[in-house]
């Protein structure tokens, strides 16, 4: 829930058009006169103004300072699950697969290549040879198996374990009736085989997800529960200093298996910095990235300041803010009432209320997610139509209800706007402004909350796949006590279609699958368990000292930046 992922924004895509990955840049440099125009390639020639200089100008070395308000809770990849530690973990550890920097495209990482069986049930990964952990030992297939089993083991209490329930033998291992997960095998030192109980198109995403990252058994056993504070991985950086609440220092891993990476020698995270103070320090040149972004109070100032404007990078997030209506509670058990609410909310006004840091939404999926239906219009803002719908709903028209909302700004202000909108169609809404835990608890009880504004607690996808927006928050599986499906909407027919869409594992049919998913969400909107309100954008601001193609700032997977790829401009 604290996870936050950005997605490929227009900015990201433009940046990708302008410069490619390092190897290509080097090749390009050799060519006498390079052109930089096509979307698939390459570095810009040094003479042309471009978001990033050509490879010749990027020198390995230098350092940067990033600030965060809160300490990173842990760097254990099986456990870390908030947006701050998420991308740091990606730089300290590696998984079998990864995303191509600045995109949502899956590429092999610790695996050199992989194969999928025709029935979609078996995945075989060939590992890269000679990859070393920070302690010098070579990473082998047994480490992959160990890491996955450790994450699944209930003793680890990994918040991601549930994702891997499709692996054969998962349940037996979790229950303690098997000593290993039968579906994870290692035919030799450099081969890992994964067997599933049912075909699942999200499998590759799961192996690019932090929870599956590879850890060395001996270090985990040595540090025990403190492994998260003394992490040892195969990644581009090693953690060399960690003073709780003050700072974390990452040093370049000289043995990193990807040539030329990371570009920096050192990254220092300074902890405990208020976002406002961090921005002041950034403007004075004391730090390079204000990790918590731009606080609302400073937003207008920064965006209107010509000096800062170029250093701000905007990205869409895989996020949707919505009003969940509990379909098991009166009068929201009546679909016409839910539709009326959808039509009564003035989304444009709410977006203005938060300084245009979002775009209005009409369906559960955010625009950057595969499957988003651009042709779907949703419920247009229509007060008279809403009144008519409510009348159609019958005698309950003009009722009183409760809207639960998290009590930190700007959420109560947004809820007030919703309250006013609903008052115009005769629904009297009482705001229940509570702390996050209370709201989540109310949503997880069947008769707990008739309406919830999801802001501050909303789902932000863990990986860029539409299924990640369904199963837990709109599917039958989430409509249980303590679950996250706050509308308690359970449609067996849609659940079946979701399972079918996930069984389409053939990469060639990815487009077909995305359309199938998109249709699930728009069909679901006919029942209107949610009133989607907006999709939030992310803002990253950095100093002139550090640079990179824009796609690595506000990367779809790495917030605030892809630490492996960012470089310093002042290296001599």
């Amino acid at each position: 829930m604290n996870r936050l992922l950005a997605s490929a924004s227009i900015v990201t895509l433009l940046a990708l058009g302008a410069c490619g990955e390092e190897k290509k840049e080097e090749a390009q440099q050799a060519a006498p006169a390079a052109s930089n125009t096509t979307a698939t390639t390459e570095a810009a020639p040094a003479a042309t103004p471009a978001p990033a200089p050509a490879a010749a100008e990027i020198k390995q070395g230098g350092s940067m300072i990033v600030t965060f308000k809160d300490d990173l809770p842990t760097l254990d990849p099986a456990i870390g699950y908030d947006w701050k530690n998420w991308s740091v973990i990606k730089s300290v550890f590696d998984g079998l697969l990864d995303y191509k920097p600045g995109t949502t495209e899956i590429v092999p990482d610790l695996a050199e290549s992989f194969e999928t069986s025709a029935d979609g049930l078996t995945y075989t990964f060939k590992l890269r040879q000679g990859v070393k952990f920070h302690n010098g030992r070579e990473m082998k297939a047994a480490d992959v198996k160990y890491s996955l089993e450790r994450m699944i083991n209930p003793a680890t209490t990994s918040p991601g374990a549930g994702y891997y329930a499709g692996i054969k033998g998962f349940a037996e291992f979790q229950a303690g009736t098997a000593t290993e997960v039968a579906g994870i095998t290692t035919p030799d030192d450099y081969t890992v085989k994964l067997e599933l109980t049912a075909p699942d198109a999200t499998t590759l995403h799961l192996l690019a997800l932090n929870f599956s990252y590879v850890v060395p058994k001996e270090e985990v056993e040595k540090s025990g529960l403190d492994f998260g504070k003394k992490p040892v991985g195969t990644g581009a950086y090693k953690v060399t200093e960690w003073t709780s609440g003050q700072k974390i220092v990452l040093d370049r891993n000289a043995d990193y298996f990807k040539a030329g990476l990371p570009r920096l020698d050192k990254i220092t995270f300074e902890i405990g910095q208020e976002p406002v103070v961090a921005l002041l320090r950034l403007q004075k040149g004391e730090i390079d990235i204000a990790g918590d972004g731009i606080p609302p109070a400073k937003f207008e100032e920064i965006m209107n300041d010509p000096a800062s404007k170029d250093l701000v990078i905007t990205a869409d997030q895989l996020h949707t803010g919505y009003v969940a209506m509990n379909v098991t509670m009166k009068p929201f058990d009546n679909v016409a009432v839910r539709q009326a609410v959808n039509m009564a909310i003035n989304k444009d006004r709410i977006v203005k209320l938060i300084n245009d840091r979002a775009v209005p939404a009409n369906q559960p999926l955010p625009p950057a997610m595969p499957g988003y239906d651009t042709s779907y219009k949703g419920y247009a803002f229509d007060v008279e139509g809403a009144k008519a719908k409510l009348k159609e709903a019958g005698p309950e028209a003009g009722f009183e209800t409760d809207l639960y909302v998290m009590n930190t700004d700007p959420q109560p202000r947004i809820a007030q706007a919703i309250q006013q909108d609903l008052a115009t169609i005769g629904i009297k809404v009482n705001l229940k402004s509570q702390d996050m835990g209370t709201v989540i608890a109310a949503g997880g009880k069947k008769d707990g909350a008739p309406m919830i504004w999801s802001g501050g607690m909303a789902w932000i996808a863990d990986f860029p796949d539409p299924s990640n927006f369904y199963t837990v928050i709109l599917g039958c599986g989430g409509a249980v006590e303590g679950g996250w499906n706050w509308s308690w909407y359970c449609n067996e027919a849609l659940d079946k279609r979701a399972r079918e869409a996930n069984a389409i594992t053939d990469p060639a049919k990815a487009g077909e699958r995305a359309i199938a998913w998109g249709k699930i969400f728009t069909d679901l909107m006919a029942d209107a368990p949610w009133a989607p309100v907006f999709n939030e954008k992310a803002y990253v601001v950095h100093s002139k000292r550090v640079a990179g193609p824009n796609g690595i700032f506000a990367d779809p997977i790495h917030i605030p930046v892809n630490y492996d790829e960012v470089y310093a401009t002042d290296v001599k």
Binding site: T74, T157, S244, G272, E274, R281
Partner: protein, 306 residues
């Protein structure tokens, strides 16, 4: 004296047990379920049950409390739900920063409060008295973040005399300590003023004046030591307040103290950390009060501890 000390320590122990029990009950009565946070959104009931068992949250409340106290007796505060680290380590890492800031802040409060209060008392009912006391009142009522940010903007950003927040060097402690000193100094000033005025009315001051003692001698030997007694008790209370977290000032200045840790833990419903911090600050409050009571007879021999 030894008997007094033993009795006080015994009371302190009872207080701490009471506090731990109440905190424990309150934390577990909160509507949020920490298992939901730890297990993640993908977890089904079965996985949540396994996590609940791992965290020991499946046991009856009295048993959980019993286990907690049992471990506490060996100095073990348990492990954080979210960070998995030992709570004693997390608190221990934050303790020095909080102690330093507390010390510096109390020094600032005393310097500011006692001087203003004494001057106001000696010049009572003059314009000077009224203006400094109104000034002190303004600071007492100012929100912490307002004063903190003002000092930060003026002295660190504009004038550049001090670093913009952070921890480690002497220059970094000045602004947060000054913020707290100005905020708390007003209380000391009021207390000092009324205390000095009261002492000034006492017979022994008139006698000293009649004896023709020098003004300075009267002030520093006869008035201040007698007036300072209630201040000592205030310092004792202040220690407790500061130890329970200087959340706002710590976050404005990026000071890595206990307040920050507590704030983070509350947001994440990290019960072991909240318990640990509560107990440590409760200890500090009890200890601060005890020290203040022990110091009283050293300053005023008329007071006997029984």
């Amino acid at each position: 004296m030894a008997g007094y000390l033993l009795r006080r320590l015994f009371h302190a122990l009872l207080t701490l047990i009471g506090i731990s029990l109440i905190t424990f009950i309150i934390l577990f009565a909160l509507p949020g379920d920490p298992v939901n946070r730890v297990a993640g959104r993908m977890a089904n009931d079965q996985q949540k049950a396994l996590v609940r068992e791992q965290l020991g949250l499946d046991r009856p409340l009295w048993e959980q409390y019993g286990r907690y106290v049992g471990k506490l007796a060996t100095g073990d505060l348990g492990r954080s739900f979210m960070q998995r680290s030992e709570v004693s380590e997390l608190v221990g890492a934050r303790l020095p920063a909080t102690l330093w800031l507390m010390l510096a802040a109390i020094v600032c409060e005393l310097v500011i409060g006692l001087s203003i209060g004494a001057v106001a008392a000696f010049r009572r009912n003059t314009l000077l008295d009224q203006s400094v006391m109104v000034g002190a009142f303004v600071f007492v009522s100012a929100p912490q973040f307002l004063l903190g940010y003002t000092l930060l903007y003026v002295f660190a950003v504009w004038l550049g005399w001090f670093p913009i927040g952070g921890y480690g060097s002497l220059s970094q402690i000045v602004l947060p300590a000054l913020t707290l000193g100005l905020l708390g100094g007003g209380w000391y000033a009021r207390m000092m003023r009324s205390s000095v005025i009261e002492v000034l009315r006492q017979d022994f001051v008139r006698t000293a004046r009649a004896k023709g003692l020098s003004r300075l001698r009267i002030v520093f030997v006869h008035i201040v030591p007698n007036a300072i007694l209630p201040i000592i008790a205030m310092v004792g209370i202040d220690i407790g307040i500061f130890m329970s977290g200087i959340v706002v000032v710590e976050s404005v200045f990026g000071w890595p103290g206990i307040g920050q840790l507590t704030w983070q833990a509350i947001q994440q419903l990290d019960i072991p950390i909240i318990m640990g911090v509560t107990l440590v600050s409760a200890c500090a409050i009890v200890l601060g009060n005890l020290l203040a009571d022990l110091a009283a007879p050293l300053i005023d021999p008329r007071i006997r501890l029984k």
